[in-house]
């Protein structure tokens, strides 16, 4: 190993499929400690599946995954990872308060033991970081989409993770919550956490990002510094189809 400190994520030649359809065809992805990596790509390019293989909810058919230098199969230090899934709601079939949802992020710390004062304080800190402390007792179903996203981020922050994985955190989030999110991310990076972000385009988080990995049809099309002030369109590998080009309409209509 060339690095004395193990990499936070080391995915090599990942092949995975969902519902029988191959989605990843040999993806390499590395996140170094303290690094902010954006995973970009069009819809269906395999961004979310890559993240789901990293957290272990989609199994690898081929390839290897190491988290903090430990093979995925024997990795137990889950408290070092905070995960924010892609979703539109934090609510389920039974009402739950903001505090209850965020408290589940503390499970790796207290495990089967009762929830103690230091766990409660950690939940308060995480809620304060995303500006939701005064809503702690409210039901998550009563919150707006942006506020629910903040709750899910607080849930990931509550264990002070060394690696934060976020799947489309800016999707459907109002401007105020986007600002809170960017500030929170900056604070986490300042603390030394590594971040793996799935994004549709770089957008307002661009100044924070160290490296961009672009996926296309389940393969890595670009791995390097993000191109400033441009979205996905200017990066190599982007299939730029113009609707007014003479030869393209049949493909677009299909």
């Amino acid at each position: 190993m060339t690095h004395p400190i193990p990499q936070a994520v080391r995915l090599r030649d990942a092949v995975a499929s969902r519902g029988g359809r191959p989605v990843l065809r040999g993806v390499d992805l590395t996140v170094r400690p303290g690094e902010v990596v954006a995973l970009l790509g069009a819809n269906g390019s395999g961004k979310s599946t890559t993240v789901k293989t990293v957290i272990g909810s989609v199994p690898l058919e081929r390839g290897t995954l190491e988290l903090f230098g430990t093979p995925h199969g024997s990795f137990r230090a889950w408290h070092r990872i905070g995960y924010v899934p892609q979703r539109t709601t934090a609510a389920s079939g039974v009402p739950a308060t903001v505090r209850e949802v965020v408290s589940t992020g503390r499970l790796p710390q207290h495990r089967l033991l009762p929830f103690r004062r230091k766990d409660r304080e950690a939940v308060d800190r995480a809620l304060a970081a995303v500006g939701m402390l005064e809503r702690a007792g409210d039901g998550v179903a009563d919150l707006s989409g942006g506020q629910q996203q903040r709750v899910l981020i607080a849930r990931a922050l509550v264990g002070s993770p060394d690696l934060l994985i976020m799947d489309e955190p800016m999707a459907g989030v109002d401007a105020a919550s986007q600002q809170v999110l960017a500030d929170t991310l900056r604070a986490e990076v300042g603390r030394g956490a590594a971040v793996l972000l799935v994004l549709h385009e770089l957008g307002p988080l661009e100044p924070l990002i160290d490296r961009a990995v672009v996926l296309r049809d389940g393969c890595v099309a670009h791995d390097g510094p993000p191109v400033p002030n441009t979205g996905l369109h200017a990066l190599p590998g982007h299939d730029h189809v113009h609707p007014h080009a003479d030869l393209t309409p049949p493909r677009l209509l299909a």
Partner: protein
């Protein structure tokens, strides 16, 4: 009241009612949380095969039903966790197969035609035997210990399975444990509420309680309290009015649900009264561009014509 309590069978029925009133909502809340409210219904159907086997082999239908129901629940959980798109068809086969098989086995057994299957379907206070009560007590204690003791863990897997996996929880084991607990609850409740109405006692107290609660912990506590009250009242009503206990319990629970839902709207209004103080009472900002269009569409300007053309 004292006369009712002097009968041994009534003492057993009331004890069983308390246990069922606690266990059914304690497990049911997780199924409701995962939007699988009708899962208990399916397990009730599968348990009929167990009752049938108990009749055939002349053994305790309760333990046979536990065995068959646990197998059925594990199968259902495996189908669910695979996320198979044909999963609902597999479950349909399991549910209907279980019910058909149960009736067939009962009709083949020596006790056929005695109407005793009826008591398993609708619940009966006369049929809680001392051996049944012991089984119900042991199984009920296990279910309560798991569902209340592992509340945070089970809440996490039902709230967000992917996230729970990243916290290092043994998600698959906990899912199987929950499925087994649901199966055990179905068989525990079978004598009192009946197999066809078991699911109602797992679901109705939970949805009734959540009309008035905001947190999961409060919902669980309130639904258990409600479950106990309606079970005891239903069994008492069954004794007084000579009706089957299952329908009495379930109709009471639905009545409570109706009352709570009627109370929910004014309570929510009162709760949100503070919120409206920050903003204006009604939207009184007039947007100049929209006002004329609403009253009479303006076709003299290009914008108006464009709007009309669309």
């Amino acid at each position: 009241m004292t006369e009712m309590l002097s009968y041994d069978f009534m003492q057993r029925a009331l004890l069983a009612a308390v246990l069922v009133g606690i266990t059914a909502p304690a497990v049911g809340i997780y199924l409701v949380q995962r939007r699988q409210a009708l899962m208990g219904d399916g397990m009730g159907h599968v348990a009929m095969t167990g009752v049938g086997l108990g009749f055939i082999f002349q053994t305790s239908p309760v333990w046979m039903a536990v065995l068959v129901c646990v197998l059925g629940a594990v199968t259902m959980e495996l189908v669910r966790s695979r996320g198979n798109q044909r999963g609902d068809i597999a479950l349909a086969m399991l549910f209907y197969g279980g019910m058909a098989c149960g009736k067939l086995l009962v009709s083949l057994s020596a006790e056929a035609g005695s109407g005793s299957l009826e008591s398993y379907l609708w619940g009966s206070i006369l049929t809680v035997a001392p051996a049944d009560l012991a089984a119900i007590a042991v199984l009920g204690a296990v279910v309560i210990a798991v569902t209340v003791g592992l509340r945070r863990q089970l809440f996490a897997i039902c709230q967000d399975e992917d996230f729970a996996r990243v916290t290092g929880l043994p998600v698959r084991t906990l899912n199987l444990l929950l499925a087994v607990m649901a199966a055990v609850t179905v068989t525990v409740a079978m004598r009192v509420v009946g197999l066809l109405l078991v699911s109602a006692l797992m679901v109705v107290p939970v949805v009734a309680a959540q009309q008035l609660t905001r947190s999961f912990a409060a919902t669980q506590a309130a639904s258990i309290a409600l479950g106990v009250v309606v079970s005891l009242a239903g069994v008492t009503g069954s004794y007084e009015l000579d009706v089957p206990s299952g329908p009495a319990i379930v109709l009471l629970a639905i009545a409570v649900f109706a009352v709570f839902s009627a109370l929910a709207a004014p309570l929510a209004r009162r709760r949100h009264r503070g919120d409206t103080e920050h903003g204006p009472k009604i939207c009184d900002v007039r947007l100049p561009a929209q006002t004329p269009e609403r009253t009479s569409p303006d076709t003299t300007t290009p914008e108006g014509r464009a709007g009309l053309a669309q």
